[in-house]
C-alpha cells in the first residue's frame, strides 16, 4: 500500500500531552517538518522552555536541552558558540520569552546570535493555570486579572515581534497564525525561512506564532480559533517585520 501521509521524522513517536485543540501540537509539527525537509534532525540542538511546551525535548527528534524559565536564548547562545555549524533553535511561550526572559531574548537578538526562535504567543500562562501574561489583551481575563487586563494596573500587552525587529542583529522577524489550513501553510514557510536564515549564517531569526489555549480561555477548540482571529490578530498584526534576501545577503557576506 502506498503511503500518502506519515509522521514527520522530526518528531519522536511519543504522545504529546497538549490539551485537545491546543495549537502547540501544530507548531511542533511545523518545526519538525522543516527540520526534516532541511535534513537537519541529526544536526540540530533544540532548547525547550518552561511552560506548556516544557516537555518539547521528548517530542523533537533531535538533541535537546531543557532551559530555565526564560533563559532559552542564553542557553542556545552557549550551544551555538560551541557548535557553530549546528542548527540551534528555541521554542518558547510568551510567559517564558516576553516576561521572565525579556533580557535574554533582546540581547540574543541584538548580538545577532545565529539561532532560530519559535515564539508561541497564546496571551496566557497556560501551564500554570491561565495567569496574566505580558501579552494578555486589554480586557482579557486571567486568574491574576480576574476583572480583565486593565492598562492602568497592568500596563499594555507587549508586541514582541515589533520590538525585536528594531534590533539590527535580528535579520528575520515575522508573526504568523495557525488558525486555518492556509495560515498554517504560510506559517510553515516562515519557519522554514527562519531556519534558512540561520543556515546561511546571517543572524538572529524569530517567528512569533499566534496560538490558542482553549483550556485556559474556557473555549471549545473552534471557538478558541475564532477568538484568536477576532481578538489577537487586530492587536498582533500578522506580518513580516524584518526580512532579508538570503541569496543577496550571502553574497554580500
Amino acid at each position: 500500500m502506498a503511503v500518502i501521509f506519515e509522521r514527520t521524522k522530526g518528531l519522536t513517536d511519543a504522545q504529546t500531552h497538549y490539551c485537545p485543540g491546543c495549537t502547540h501540537g501544530i507548531i511542533h509539527r511545523l518545526v519538525a517538518e522543516v527540520l526534516e525537509e532541511m535534513d537537519q534532525c541529526g544536526n540540530a540542538v533544540g532548547v525547550a522552555p518552561v511552560g506548556c511546551s516544557v516537555l518539547a525535548y521528548n517530542y523533537f527528534n533531535c538533541d535537546m536541552h531543557e532551559a530555565a524559565h526564560g533563559r532559552a536564548p542564553a542557553c542556545a547562545t552557549g550551544i551555538k558558540r560551541v557548535l557553530p555549524d549546528h542548527t540551534v533553535f528555541t521554542y518558547q511561550g510568551d510567559g517564558d520569552l516576553a516576561s521572565i526572559g525579556t533580557a535574554e531574548i533582546v540581547h540574543a537578538a541584538n548580538r545577532g546570535e545565529k539561532i532560530t526562535v519559535i515564539f508561541v504567543n497564546n496571551t496566557t500562562y497556560g501551564m500554570t493555570g491561565g495567569q496574566m501574561a505580558p501579552t494578555t489583551l486589554i480586557g482579557e481575563k486571567g486568574t491574576t486579572c480576574q476583572g480583565g487586563r486593565d492598562p492602568e494596573l497592568h500596563g499594555y500587552p507587549i508586541r514582541i515581534a515589533e520590538m525585536i525587529s528594531t534590533l539590527t542583529g535580528a535579520v528575520y522577524v515575522e508573526r504568523v497564525r495557525v488558525d486555518t489550513p492556509a495560515e498554517v501553510r504560510k506559517a510553515k514557510k516562515c519557519i522554514r525561512k527562519a531556519f534558512e536564515v540561520q543556515k546561511a549564517g546571517l543572524g538572529f531569526s524569530m517567528v512569533e506564532v499566534l496560538s490558542t489555549c482553549p483550556t485556559n480561555w474556557g473555549k471549545t477548540a473552534p471557538d478558541a480559533l475564532q477568538w484568536l482571529r477576532d481578538n489577537m490578530v487586530p492587536y498582533f498584526p500578522v506580518q513580516n517585520f524584518r526580512d532579508v534576501d538570503i541569496e543577496a545577503a550571502k553574497e554580500e557576506k
Binding site: H65, A68, A74, T77
Partner: protein, 353 residues
C-alpha cells in the same frame, strides 16, 4: 616551563586555557574583571569564544548550554554576581553539566564593598540554588595553587559531571605572583561524553540535557543518584594541608588568603615556643572533617576568617565537641591583622609565656 609573574585574575584565565577551556561567558564585576578582559583578548586568538553576557543569569545559562554540548567552559564572577548565577548552577547540578565557576569574593551583603572577603562561604559550600545538590569547592591560598586547582577543576567537573567552584577572594585575584603553568598534575581518566548534545547525526537516539522529573519517584531516584556521586566526591576529592599539627595544643583553622596570614602567625608563635599548628582546608566542600581526628594534643581550635564566622560551623562539626572552638574574624572586606591574631591566640593559651 619557567615561572611567569602574573596578576592573579589573569593567571586564572591562563590556567583555564592551559586546561583546554575554550569558552568563557561572563559579566564584569570588581574585583575579577581582569579575568574576562584577559580572556576577551586571548580566547578568540586561539579559536575560542568569549561572550560578554547581558547579565550573570544569562552568562551561567550560556555556560549550561555550552557545557551540555561537552565543551570545557568557564565563567567567573564576584559575590553579588555569584548570587545571580545560583539559578544556573542548580540547573547544571541537576542536569549534570560539567563547568567551572570562579568566585572572587568581595564584601557583602548586598552591594557591599569591593575589598577581599570570605563571606560567601555559605553561598558556595551550601549552595544557594534550589534542591539537594552539592558542588565541589576549591579554596586556594596562592596564585600558583589557584592555577593548579583551576586546571584540576576542569577534570573533576568532567569526571563527576558536575559544576565545580573555585573560591577565591579579591586579594588573590589582585596580587602578582610567579606561576608555573606546567606543574605535574594528577592524571585522570575523563569518561567519554556520550551524553553531550552534539547532534545525533542520525546515528543514535537524541540526547537530552534536563533537570525536570515530573514523577516524584523518578526525581527521588535521580536525587539518590546525585547523592551517591556526592558521597564519592567526599571520599575521593577532599584536600587539606596540616601544618605542624602533631604536637599542637592550639590549632588554627583557616583557608585561602586568611591561611597565608595565619601561617605567619604560626611561624612567629612557634619561635616564641607556643605549640600551634594550622589546618588549612584546600577543599571546603568536601570538607576535611577527618583532619580533626588527627590532632591528638589539641585542646583549642582557633578559626580565623574574613567574615562573621561561616566556616566555624564546619569546624564545630569536625570537632564534634572534642575541642574548645574559638573564632576571630573581620567582615566587610577587612583583613584580620597578624598581631591581633597572635594576641588572641596567646590569650586562649593562657597568656604570655
Amino acid at each position: 616551563m619557567a615561572k611567569i609573574l602574573m596578576k592573579g585574575n589573569e593567571a586564572f584565565g591562563k590556567a583555564a586555557i592551559t586546561a583546554g577551556c575554550r569558552h568563557f561567558f561572563g559579566y564584569p564585576i570588581t574585583p575579577q574583571s581582569e579575568l574576562p578582559e584577559y580572556l576577551s583578548r586571548e580566547l578568540p586568538a586561539i579559536g575560542g569564544t568569549f561572550v560578554q553576557a547581558e547579565s550573570e543569569v544569562a552568562a551561567i545559562n550560556m555556560v549550561y548550554g555550552a557545557g551540555g554540548c561537552g565543551a570545557r567552559v568557564l565563567t567567573s564572577s564576584s559575590s553579588p554576581g555569584l548570587a545571580l548565577k545560583q539559578e544556573g548552577i542548580t540547573y547544571c547540578a541537576g542536569a549534570e553539566v560539567p563547568c567551572v565557576i570562579l568566585n572572587v569574593v568581595r564584601g557583602g551583603p548586598g552591594l557591599g564593598s569591593i575589598q577581599p572577603s570570605q563571606s560567601d562561604y555559605f553561598m558556595c559550600t551550601r549552595g544557594g540554588g534550589d534542591g539537594d545538590y552539592r558542588t565541589p569547592v576549591y579554596a586556594p591560598s596562592s596564585v600558583q595553587e589557584a592555577c593548579d586547582m583551576i586546571q584540576d577543576a576542569f577534570d573533576v567537573a568532567e569526571v563527576y559531571r558536575t559544576p565545580v567552584l573555585v573560591l577565591l577572594d579579591g586579594m588573590i585575584g589582585q596580587m602578582m605572583e610567579p606561576v608555573d603553568f606546567d606543574r605535574p598534575r594528577k592524571q585522570r581518566e575523563i569518561p567519554a561524553k556520550d551524553w553531550a548534545t552534539t547532534g545525533t547525526k542520525g546515528e543514535r537516539k537524541p540526547n537530552i540535557i534536563n533537570s525536570l522529573y515530573l514523577s516524584p519517584e523518578i526525581l527521588e531516584e535521580h536525587n539518590y543518584h546525585l547523592g551517591r556521586k556526592y558521597d564519592l566526591i567526599e571520599k575521593e576529592e577532599v584536600q587539606v594541608e596540616m601544618d605542624r599539627t602533631e604536637d599542637a595544643e592550639l590549632v588554627f583553622v583557616a583557608y585561602g588568603t586568611m591561611a597565608r596570614v595565619v601561617k605567619n602567625c604560626v611561624e612567629d608563635l612557634r619561635e616564641e615556643g607556643y605549640k600551634v599548628g594550622l589546618i588549612r582546608p584546600k577543599t571546603v566542600w568536601p570538607y576535611p572533617y577527618h583532619a580533626f581526628d588527627e590532632i591528638p594534643a589539641c585542646k583549642d581550635l582557633f578559626v580565623i576568617e574574613m567574615s562573621m564566622g561561616q566556616m566555624v560551623e564546619d569546624v564545630k562539626l569536625g570537632s564534634n565537641g572534642r575541642h574548645n572552638v574559638h573564632f576571630y574574624g573581620r567582615p566587610g572586606g577587612m583583613v584580620p591583622e597578624p598581631k591581633e591574631i597572635v594576641r588572641r591566640a596567646k590569650e586562649i593559651m593562657g597568656g604570655v609565656k
